[in-house]
Symmetry: C2
Subunit: 375 residues, 2 copies
Amino acid sequence: MFKLIHKEKNSAARLGKLATRHGEIETPCFMPVGTQGTVKAISPQELKDSRAEVILSNTYHLFLRPGTEVIKKAGGLHNFMSWQKPILTDSGGYQVFSLALLRKVIDNGVEFQSHIDGQKHLFTPENVIETQQIFGSDIMMPLDECVHYPCGRDQAEVAMKRTVDWAKRSKEFMVHSSKFIEKKQLLFGIVQGATYEDLRRECAERLIEMDFQGYAIGGVSVGEPRNLIYNIVNLVTGLLPENKPRYLMGVGLPQDILEAVSEGVDMFDCVVPTRYGRNGTAFTSAGKLTIRNSPYTEDFAPLDAECGCYACRNFSRAYLRHLFNTGEILGLRLVSLHNVHFFLKLMQRAREAIAQDKFGEFKKEFLGKYNNSVT
Amino acid sequence: MFKLIHKEKNSAARLGKLATRHGEIETPCFMPVGTQGTVKAISPQELKDSRAEVILSNTYHLFLRPGTEVIKKAGGLHNFMSWQKPILTDSGGYQVFSLALLRKVIDNGVEFQSHIDGQKHLFTPENVIETQQIFGSDIMMPLDECVHYPCGRDQAEVAMKRTVDWAKRSKEFMVHSSKFIEKKQLLFGIVQGATYEDLRRECAERLIEMDFQGYAIGGVSVGEPRNLIYNIVNLVTGLLPENKPRYLMGVGLPQDILEAVSEGVDMFDCVVPTRYGRNGTAFTSAGKLTIRNSPYTEDFAPLDAECGCYACRNFSRAYLRHLFNTGEILGLRLVSLHNVHFFLKLMQRAREAIAQDKFGEFKKEFLGKYNNSVT
């Protein structure tokens, strides 16, 4: 299922291939986020043209709208959204703990009110897996309890233990449901434990005993200082088995991704390419660029001369600035598309560098240019 | 420049080819509207894929933002917006009279305040042509005075006479400016005269004397009953020379376009495909369809089974409804794209029917199905 192709000589960075029922994913990889069954403002064809191999979608949001029944009748999420490559769905745990109203954690699961209409729902480890089975997700995530930063040790420990318990129930449900066997869906375990090293360690060890098909590092990028993220990533990757993919949830900016790749992380997702794109901030090889700024009024260069995306091949900064200034949708489409392309290309270059045992040099060169931005 | 290819036996409908410096346009044709240098929510590549041959853009809007200077430095509007097929620009007259603040018509031109920042500007027949020369428009329109409906005869007569005077000055400026000869830009005359037949007749006759390269019917679809539009179109097309293209400005819905085609109109533009698309209303062979409506919740058919656009080839009504209900940009992108495709395909089918002297049958068949909509 996961094949470790190459381990870099000078770091923990690694090349891999993850087989799913909708095709292989080369790792390290970036997953554009399609929260509601669409990567915001971008079409599936454009994602394919940008060589996206896998996207992430969100169980909480899709459960609420359009609802599991609609996706079931559509023949699964791939058919519904017209995306025939792999999809990872998160469990909705993060959204229940950050977005839903009046949530109440009980041992059986978590009761919450929809942030849209206030209607009450119950997520259990079992029904969250069942929902993802109906979606036909290639990679499923178990329900977990995610705490915010800062979080006291007692609360973090309770949440971690519940996460482990729910992971066990998720796996049992999956193993005993025949659907899993038919569909060859993968299930990852999520390592929680906030910023407490012993809790992270305990969580990782207990999940590894259960033998998941991959492991995610959850509960990071929730407000903690960046060095704490790096500490956790370093600790957890050191504990995880080498022959399973490692997924750092919700991270992140290019510098964070490269740092985590050098620690041996294989998979990433983040909303920043599309969120920043909608606000007119472009990621470029020379750093971030705010397209509304007046220096771009008569700048007829592309966003990034090194980029080969549709936006950079056809449009100038001056034109994109005009589109944002006049509120035209094509502007946010093009900058979102460029940003997704930029992240995917970054991962492609990272993979090439790892293959040549030159990841450290690549990272240094990339960040040197990226951080020295004058724009 | 304009070649009349075929006159239908059973109506005044005609097939033609209009040569411009960015290629030939087959008529009758529909021009998607790109007011601010972008057809709203649609990329130039998607327009090409939908076989758009010409688009319309707006001098008033582009003059204000990004400004003539930026477009000049970009090497013209085609380069600025990355569209290398024909562009028709309107004169801005209509916008000055409908959108601008505190306009004041003087014989020299029209003073107005920008609707964006209140800054004062002056449009004259001469500077409006010069602006369109800088844009590099393939087809230019002269500054005209457009009145609303209802409009008293005296006011309509003054506006018509001013329009004729400004048309004369526009043509003189164009003929004497060397740019015209280099760039082979075309200039149309605009027939005004509100709903008064004698004024329309006088305007048409005086413009024909000046020998424009095409003639537009302006000041329609400004609030008058539909039968008055048809009367004017019938009257004016009867007056215009056969060997010049005829353009009905700002019209319209499919039934209006087909009616005008049968009267011998060659060119159309309208914002409805994109405006309706953004609001979730799709044009289909079975009539208009409001995608947010609940019957589409579990409707996995495409918008229009007879349509071959990207949206219809890949997505269901249920998915599009979900995108609109969740405020996802891809929804309005796809319905806008479908609508533009629908209008362009309608014109293509109209041309095929005219070529076979079967336009009347085509129109009857199309409208029979279109008007019998059950959705």
